[in-house]
């Protein structure tokens, strides 16, 4: 009987230690910079005004709130701004809204070939948004990069509801480089956050 107890004890120890190891991966999210940056205040306004050169960042509200592409672009910009601010929690929230926005995307207005393409793009983008909603910052940025490519491809079909700038960071991803979209021409790099805020260049306007 005593032997059995010892065995049971060992079994329990093993279980507990296994559980502890598997949980470790989820604990990194805790380190979130909450420097009072309410991500909603940071959503960039639409730059639809004539000239389009304004770089004011804190305008809230957009004429495109209603269009489904507009919602996705707005959520994407919130995500991008959170990453610029090294705000992992804000990015996670934006990721969650993006999942919903992609889920609600209605493709009925598109032709069959476009629908097929859009389905694949949105499936992929939604998966990235989902990962962003629960991952640590490094992962959020990895998925953000891939999602940015999806966004460009999506907007090529749907058209952009506002003027966007495709920007490029040559250093991310082992110097292979990565793109992102912004409503403003000014560079605010989402891949390295506060470390390298103004590193990058505008590639083209969308």
């Amino acid at each position: 009987m005593k032997n059995l107890k010892v065995n049971l004890g060992i079994a329990m120890l093993v279980i507990v230690s296994l559980t502890a190891v598997s949980c470790k991966n989820n604990n990194e999210e805790g380190n979130v910079d909450r420097s009072g940056m309410d991500h909603e205040n940071m959503s960039e306004g639409s730059e639809m005004m004539e000239g389009g050169e304004q770089t004011s960042e804190n305008m809230s509200g957009s004429e495109n709130q209603d269009s489904q592409t507009g919602i996705i672009v707005n959520d994407y910009m919130e995500l991008k701004n959170a990453l610029v601010a090294d705000n992992s929690e804000g990015a996670a929230q934006a990721g969650e809204s993006l999942v919903a926005a992609f889920e609600n995307f209605n493709m009925s207005g598109y032709e069959a070939a476009e629908r097929q393409e859009l389905t694949e793009i949105i499936e992929s983008a939604k998966e990235h948004a989902d990962h962003i909603s629960y991952s640590d910052m490094a992962h959020q940025r990895e998925h953000f990069e891939l999602m940015s490519i999806d966004m460009v491809d999506m907007l090529a079909i749907t058209g952009s509801p506002e003027r966007l700038y495709q920007q490029f960071c040559p250093m991310y991803n082992n110097k292979k480089g990565a793109i992102w979209l912004s409503t403003s021409e000014e560079i605010r790099n989402p891949y390295f956050g506060q470390n390298m805020l103004s590193c990058g260049e505008v590639q083209k306007e969308i």
Binding site: K5, L8, I15, S22, H128
Partner: protein, 151 residues
């Protein structure tokens, strides 16, 4: 002391009891057409890594360890496998769109590079699944080059 005995007895009964709860095994004898190794030409060294370090949780065929037959390990393992397959299933890789394949290849490479995969809890028991720096390098370089090819 009597108290301890009762607790021990309860635990023992529970432990024996849960052994009778049936669970589905993630096992398949044939390799589907959509399997990663069917749609791509995978060199031998990469294939070995895939089979020993990845396929247990990321395919429809798990090479179960002996303790899998003992609860609660079965639950623990099955939970892992289910989650692993939801994120990446090499058996169904061919069914992913090429866009999704590209992004999976990128994620595979970066997770292995960062040492996040294979999971520590997995290599703790499967010593042979642990990747050396050289294996990691070969694996990620190959996955990266494949990611560039997939169009």
């Amino acid at each position: 002391m009597k108290f301890l005995k009762i607790i021990g007895l309860i635990l023992l009964v529970a432990f024996v009891g849960i052994q009778f709860i049936p669970t589905n095994r993630n096992h398949s004898d044939y390799i589907p057409k959509s399997d990663f190794t069917e749609i791509y030409e995978v060199p031998e060294n990469i294939n070995t890594i895939l089979q020993t370090s990845c396929y247990d949780c990321h395919s429809n065929n798990t090479n179960y360890p002996w303790y899998n037959k003992i609860q609660p390990f079965t639950w623990y393992l099955n939970d892992h496998i289910e989650k692993g397959k939801a994120d990446l299933n090499f058996s169904e890789f061919g069914e992913y769109s090429s866009r999704r394949q590209r992004s999976k290849l990128r994620s595979i490479s970066s997770q292995v590079k960062d040492g996040e995969m294979p999971l520590q809890s997995y290599t703790l028991v499967h010593w042979d699944a642990k990747l050396s720096d050289k294996e990691k390098e070969e694996f990620t370089v190959w996955m990266d080059s494949l990611a560039m090819e997939v169009r």
